[in-house]
Assembly symmetry: C2
Homo-oligomer: 326 residues x 2
């Protein structure tokens, strides 16, 4: 492997001069700089990333915090972050935090020891002190942390209004909302949107907390069908929750969309895999992940951000679970 000494020898300069050229620090004559660059090229020299990291206190590493990569919303975000980061020469360390503060703190410690350049945080914990006290750039993705941290979200409230009004336009008279966990900003905003649309139209409704998991949602929906047999529309707080509602409808022998129409929220690929295919509110997941990575890289390069609030519009995606008569 070519070393910095080989480059110095070939360029006929000292190792210190090569180092100054590589790190763009200190005085180097134009002629010496040219010789060094030619030598680097002809020898195909690759500077040692770790040594550069020690000198610059940067590593080209960014940490991506997700609750659990096996929850199907996050792989699509992770892919987008990784694509954007890689194209700028950064590598992404995957951190499954299970939304636990102690795991987040441990990852922050380990990443800072490795001179990580920044963090993208798509997890929710009650405390935010440990995030605010990191001394590297942070971007919040799919959640709000603080006004001092750039935030990338979708228009959860407006999307929820669209979902609810779509069910009403399809003729639903009694609509259930399977809401996500209380305290999670996206779930709270979707709930607010649902309430607003429903009150505008004076439609019978019921709201239950169903988490963001399929099992909880399946049980909650079965209970709803038993208690309120006339429910004919369901707005699920996520696509995974919607899949649970579809399973409950199947078990209770209620045909979708004939007897009950269902719409989800997220727009993950799961929706297209379901039968019938799931109507949903599409978040631009890939664009959101890319934007978070871009903002983080701007902060790492100490560029000024145009804004700290980046809200992406959602779109109503009508598929089979909310239309037709079969």
């Amino acid at each position: 492997m070519t070393t910095i000494k080989d480059v110095a020898k070939q360029a006929n300069v000292s190792v210190a001069t090569v180092s100054r050229v590589l790190n763009q620090k200190g005085y180097v004559s134009k002629q010496a700089e040219r010789s060094v660059k030619n030598a680097i090229k002809s020898l195909n020299y690759k500077p040692n990333a770790v040594a550069r990291s020690l000198y610059h206190k940067t590593s080209g590493i960014i940490g991506l915090f997700v609750p659990d990569i096996s929850n199907p919303f996050f792989p699509e975000l992770a892919r987008a972050v990784e694509d954007a980061a890689t194209s700028e020469g950064f590598t992404v360390v995957l951190c499954n935090t299970d939304s636990k503060q102690e795991k987040e703190e441990k990852y922050i410690q380990v990443l800072q020891q490795k001179y990580a350049d920044g963090l993208i945080i798509a997890t929710g914990t009650d405390s935010i002190e440990h995030i605010l006290s990191t001394n590297i750039p942070v971007v919040a993705l799919d959640r709000y942390i603080s006004d001092h941290i750039p935030t990338v979200v979708s228009s959860n409230k407006a999307g929820a209004i669209d979902a609810t009004e779509h069910l009403i336009a399809q003729g639903c008279q009694f609509i259930a909302h399977l809401r996500g966990p209380k305290g999670v900003t996206s779930a709270d905003d979707r709930y607010t949107g649902f309430k607003q649309a429903i009150e505008d139209h004076s439609i019978a409704h019921v709201v239950v907390e169903a988490g963001f998991e399929i099992g909880q949602s399946e049980v909650a929906t079965r209970n709803l069908f038993e208690k309120y047999p006339s429910i004919d529309g369901i707005f699920a707080g996520s696509d995974v929750t919607a899949a649970g509602a579809m399973r409950a409808a199947y078990q209770c022998k209620r045909a979708v969309p004939k007897d009950v129409k269902i719409i989800g929220f997220d727009g993950i690929s799961l929706g297209e895999m379901l039968t019938p295919s799931l109507s949903t509110i599409q978040q631009p997941i890939y664009e959101m992940g890319q934007q978070a990575a871009k903002l983080l890289m701007m902060m790492i390069e100490k560029k000024e951000l145009p804004s700290y609030w980046h809200e992406f519009s959602t779109t109503l995606k009508i598929r089979e679970t909310s239309t037709g008569s079969e």
Copy 2:
């Protein structure tokens, strides 16, 4: 932040002595070692990971190569690898390669510059030269690369036999196999198992290539139903492919499982989200990911491996798509 100098001062030894204790290299008296360790503890000193990396030429980083983290098989593997790695103090860099050789080569270059300690490769490319020529440990996960690389797979052929015999036991008389891409070892082994079981029972059958994606599988299955209306059983090469077959059955108004029984392969959480829920061949995905990480860490620590071939048994998971009469 506490530095190595603070530790030396408190322990009343030289910085070089502290360094020898930290790196477990060179002679240090028992007494000096004790003083240094006490000083490290009382000052809560955390050695700079990057400086240690430069000295040891290791970084505590491992690379995980997946084709695309948004394909639902890989997040579950990634979670397992990350859990096992984190518990041993390693961090995992996520690498989406799209199974392209140039992307793999680029990642290998970047990771080696960062002194990555090893790679787990769950992607398939035609060439393997660039993998064989890396100078850090490699483990192959869900694929075979070479006899010289430890391999973690599931018993694809035996699982395919179980799937096919289950359809036959359920009374299927004409079975289609939606096979995965030719040349991908797991897909080839499942095909071989299917053929063996079908020939043992003299059952009418047809095999088509349907990739590992939902769109391709949906189209392939629709064509099959048109051409061979008496197909009453489908063994899909993956759970995602099975979801595509279920969508095709819905479009062609063939009830699952009454008119056609379907079984997948993988055992990802998608199967439980489908309606009806998907019968499948369960691979122990989490255990496989953990085993790959453990083998890699043994190699990094230069321990001898018990074996280079780690094949996990699959289990038949009977759910709704292959049983009952509704």
